[in-house]
């Protein structure tokens, strides 16, 4: 069912991209890059069994980056008319006049262009095959399953069913033209539980590039209910230093900070606590973190962070960011690679507006051998974190302070729910103090992590 993303004949949009490139060059640009994105979205929200919203639409937009030697500027538009394109080109040319000569700016060398080979399994045309009524029914079933688990499941924020497909085209004046299509479908449910102590909300979801890989609505609903019910009666704990076990969702965010700290843009600015740490030890020897923009999951379905080429037309690739505790790679695009006198790692990201940024593909922490229960079982007294809140992560210093909720661990067992507390430490130390990694690695989004256990974090509470 997957269609090959090695497009032989150029689509209309790829043709439009090349036309815009020619116009930019005619207007005097020495180089230019065009990105076009086109997408469709469908979403529905069902709440307490009734349809609340139905949304269905499509849109497209065009972004242009022009170079005049080493000056550059970008423009974007949703107006594809001849007049709209004219304005886009004219605007970029005018803007580029005021920017500075930047010796590091410019398109990649043509020899670096390329696409990952073969079918990456990014697009499946079955995502829209389900009639709207059946999509609504799936959301309804997920919500029903959640609310029928227990009499304390009394309310709901509803259940969503979402579908999206998109086409991305990238073309530049040094000869790169590429495009790929991606599909997405998924549903989620956010039930609310209530008892004498108050209300709690949590949620669960399933998503995939093809309908075939969605979990059953009943499974998702029951899991959402389990997550919600376990929060009822949450209390605070006293301020103390303790072991903290992070659920896969929160571990993913903590390991995501490794990728952010290894971002070449932060590195060349000295704005990262990983600055100058390449080939040095930044974590315990049990830590290996991979970034893989080419990941294909079992069944031939591409990961959510998989693309054939990056935002500048370089092939995506797999590399270790941290290998057995040693920082092995920064995440680089062409600009930051030149600044650091290195080579791009194929991690350029490209939105419609602005110059290329940096983004990870699919990243993951290599799993260990213990089950999550074993990891928790070794903790006498500590915290199992299922949610963090806030903006208390400082990538310049590594300082970490977040609101948290979860369950208290007593004698190796999850004992009672806790909330309205904070956890704090410094990421530099946290990465060295990971005393256990579980075996529960599952890809539910572009990043994935198993459960991890961190020693000696500060918990502030009552």
């Amino acid at each position: 069912m997957a269609t090959n993303n090695a497009v032989v004949e150029k689509s209309d949009l790829a043709q439009l991209a090349t036309d815009v490139l020619s116009k930019a060059l005619q207007a005097g640009a020495s180089d230019a890059e065009v990105v076009i994105s086109e997408g469709d979205e469908f979403s529905t929200l069902v709440r307490l069994g009734q349809v609340e919203t139905l949304k269905e639409s499509g849109s497209r937009a065009l972004g242009l980056h022009v170079y005049f030697g080493q000056r550059s500027a970008t423009t974007s538009t949703s107006d594809f008319s001849a007049e709209g394109v004219e304005r886009l080109v004219h605007g970029a040319v005018e803007l580029a006049r005021v920017t500075s000569e930047d010796p590091y700016s410019g398109l990649p060398d043509a020899s670096e262009f390329g696409s990952a080979p073969g079918d990456q399994g990014l697009y499946f045309d079955d995502v829209y095959s389900l009639p709207v009524e059946e999509r609504i029914a799936m959301a309804r079933r997920a919500e029903e399953a959640a609310l029928s688990v227990d009499t304390r499941m009394q309310n709901s924020d509803g259940a969503n069913f979402d579908v999206a497909t998109g086409l991305k085209v990238l073309a530049n004046s040094r000869g790169f033209v590429g495009e790929y299509r991606r599909s997405y479908c998924g549903f989620s449910v956010a039930p609310i539980a209530q008892d004498g102590n108050g209300m709690q909300r949590d949620w669960w979801y399933t998503n995939a590039r093809t309908l075939k890989n969605l979990e059953s609505p009943e499974e998702v609903g029951r899991e959402a209910a389990r997550r919600t019910l376990r929060r009822l009666g949450a209390r605070r704990v006293p301020t103390q230093r303790a072991t903290v076990v992070f659920s896969p969702e929160i571990a993913r965010s903590i390991m995501g900070n490794v990728l952010a700290a290894a971002d070449g843009d932060a590195i060349y600015r000295s704005a990262s606590f990983f600055n100058g740490m390449l080939e040095k030890e930044v974590a315990g020897s049990n830590i290996t973190i991979i970034d893989d923009g080419t990941l294909i999951l079992p069944g031939g379905v591409g990961g959510f962070g998989t693309t054939p080429f990056d935002g500048e037309g370089l092939p995506t690739r797999r590399k270790a960011i941290v290998e057995r505790g040693v920082l092995k790679n920064y995440l680089l695009n062409t600009y930051t690679a030149r600044k650091l006198n290195m080579h791009s790692t194929g991690n350029a990201s490209r939105g419609l507006a602005g110059a290329a940024g940096i983004g990870a593909g699919n990243f993951y922490l290599e799993p260990g051998t213990l089950t999550p229960e074993q990891l928790i079982g070794e903790v006498q007294s500590g915290l199992y974190v299922t949610e963090t809140m806030g903006f208390g992560v400082n990538l310049v210093t590594g300082d970490y302070s977040q609101g948290a909720s979860g369950l208290w661990i007593e004698n190796g067992e999850l004992a009672y729910p806790v909330e309205e507390i904070t956890i704090a430490g410094n990421l530099k130390e946290m990465y060295r103090n990971i005393s256990g990694i579980a075996n529960d690695l599952v890809f539910r989004s572009a990043g994935a992590c198993p459960t991890i256990r961190v020693e000696g974090m500060m918990i502030a509470g009552a």
């Binding site: 606590f273 904070t422 009552a462």
Partner: protein, 489 residues
């Protein structure tokens, strides 16, 4: 149907709708046909939201103008109500064919014969809270460039330990035209500008960041001189970074907390504002549901949401559903007074709309949202408030906050804070997250300063994936207890 004209008693009122008719080909007949199509399947109500946004941005980085960008986005969203159901579709192509197709798609939320007629439009009377700038963005590029260069020079001159400076000036002009089948007809032109400075300070192995910025519904001239100059924001960012070089670990645990004036008002936004948005209360999913008339704060606390302040980032002449904005009292002397409502929640809850229906763009369904949310001044002198604290935290700048509407738990993350020891402000501490419970936290407000200030105008609020510009404000206040999430004991 004919489009209503602006009220004749004020010839200065700009004709915001003209742009859509003259530049984008919108006609009265087209609006009428689209609303008719949107109601063709039996919907109770339909509206069209036309939007045209032009945005520009210019940035200096390492003393080079590395980035300059410009964007244009035009589209229309069509919404249909059928009982509690909402159908929505949008198009970025304003041709009659595409608009009618979007209307047809949205219409399918209903299932029955057409029962509504569309007639009798009345233009919403709106104030003029902000300037209407021209569209000659190109001509201003040089002047914007000068602003960011001034920021760069000032930050570098502030201290030799400042090693990196980035400054960005970004603005947009958003034009909207909203027409509802209930006769609402409104248009507006909304400028929005901001200047941001980001710096890194380094001393030996010690590195720290500092950020500052300001903005509002302003134009370029407002940044060239006066209160919002690049020099002021650059010095402020540099001062914070240098200060952080010497910061000690923040304390951990429950303690007395003094919040400075202005941006710390994000506390109100998180602790009470979101919980009072009517959609959560209609669904009874908010920790504040059913608490109207109850005491939720100390009697010294009065909190309002005010969309009608001149030039403020959160202000709007008219909301995104065509209703006039207003000042809404949320908490008065500690008693919970009201909710922030949009059209749907007002209809379904049988309450008045507070003009709080906002959306990120034509691609988004409106929701009840805040505008400028702040606490009114009290009677205490800020110095007396500090003096009253034996051991606590004095937090003056925040990075942002978040709330769980259902259990009321909120956090907000301090980016500049100090210890208070024996009534005196002492050492600067590292960033720390503060955590509390919305319906409880403000009960511990024991002192309220006489120094109400609003933030500098760079706040953005996210809800259900939609971002909108907002403002917050507060006088200096003292909370007798709050949990501070540092690493120190």
């Amino acid at each position: 149907m004919t489009a209503p004209t602006a009220h004749g008693d004020n010839f200065q009122t700009p004709d915001h709708k003209r742009y859509f008719y003259e530049k984008l080909g919108v006609t009265d007949r087209l609006i009428e046909r689209c609303l008719g199509e949107a109601l063709a399947a039996g919907g109770d109500y339909a509206d069209l939201y036309f939007e045209a946004v032009t945005s520009t941005s210019i940035g200096v980085d390492e003393s080079l103008v590395k980035t300059a960008s410009q964007g244009v986005s035009v589209g229309c969203g069509v919404r249909v109500f059928s009982g509690e159901r909402t159908g929505y579709a949008y198009t970025d192509d304003l041709s009659p064919e595409r608009l009618l197709r979007a209307a047809h798609t949205a219409a399918l939320i209903a299932n029955g014969p057409n029962k509504q007629s569309v007639a009798g439009f009345q233009e919403t009377k709106t104030p003029s809270l902000y300037p209407v700038t021209g569209a000659s963005v190109d001509a201003e590029t040089a002047a914007k460039l000068e602003l960011v260069m001034r920021a760069d020079r000032t930050a570098r001159a502030f201290d030799s330990r400042i090693i990196q400076v980035r400054a960005t000036y970004a603005d947009e002009l958003r034009r909207i035209l909203v027409v509802g089948s209930d006769g609402v007809y409104a248009s507006d032109t909304q400028p929005l500008a901001r200047l941001n400075v980001f710096v890194i300070a380094k001393e030996g192995d010690n590195v720290a960041r500092g950020t500052s910025g300001g903005g509002g519904r302003l134009t370029l001239e407002n940044f060239q001189s006066g209160e919002k100059t690049p020099e002021r924001f650059a010095r402020e960012a540099a001062r914070q970074a240098v200060l952080q070089l010497g910061a000690v670990a923040a304390p951990a645990g429950e303690m007395e907390v003094v919040l400075g004036p202005g941006w710390p008002g994000v506390l109100l936004h998180e602790a009470v504002g979101h919980g009072l948005e009517a959609d959560f209360n209609r669904k009874k999913t908010s920790a504040f549901a059913g608490l109207i008339g109850q005491k939720v704060a100390s009697s010294k606390v009065t909190v309002v949401d005010n969309g009608r302040m001149e030039n403020r980032r959160g202000s709007l002449n008219v909301d995104d559903e065509g209703n006039a904005t207003q000042e809404t009292v949320l908490i008065e002397n500690g008693i919970l007074k009201g909710y922030l409502s949009d059209k749907l929640s007002a209809r379904l809850m049988g309450i008045a709309s507070t003009g709080s229906g906002r959306r990120e763009s034509y691609r988004h369904i409106p929701m009840p949202r805040m505008t400028n949310t702040y606490m009114l001044s009290g009677e205490d002198a800020p110095e007396d408030i500090i003096r009253s604290v034996k051991r606590g935290l004095y937090a003056v700048n925040f990075g942002g906050g978040q709330v769980d509407i259902t259990n009321g738990k909120f956090v907000f993350s301090a980016s500049e804070a100090y210890l208070i020891e024996d009534g005196k402000v002492t050492a600067p501490v590292k960033g720390a997250t503060l955590v509390g419970n919305g319906p409880e936290a403000l009960k511990y407000v024991s002192m309220v300063g006489n120094d109400l200030a609003l933030d500098e105008g760079i706040g953005t609020c996210g809800k259900d994936g939609q971002s909108v510009p907002v403002g917050v404000g507060m006088p200096t206040i003292k909370l007798d207890k709050m949990t501070v999430g540092g690493t120190g004991q």
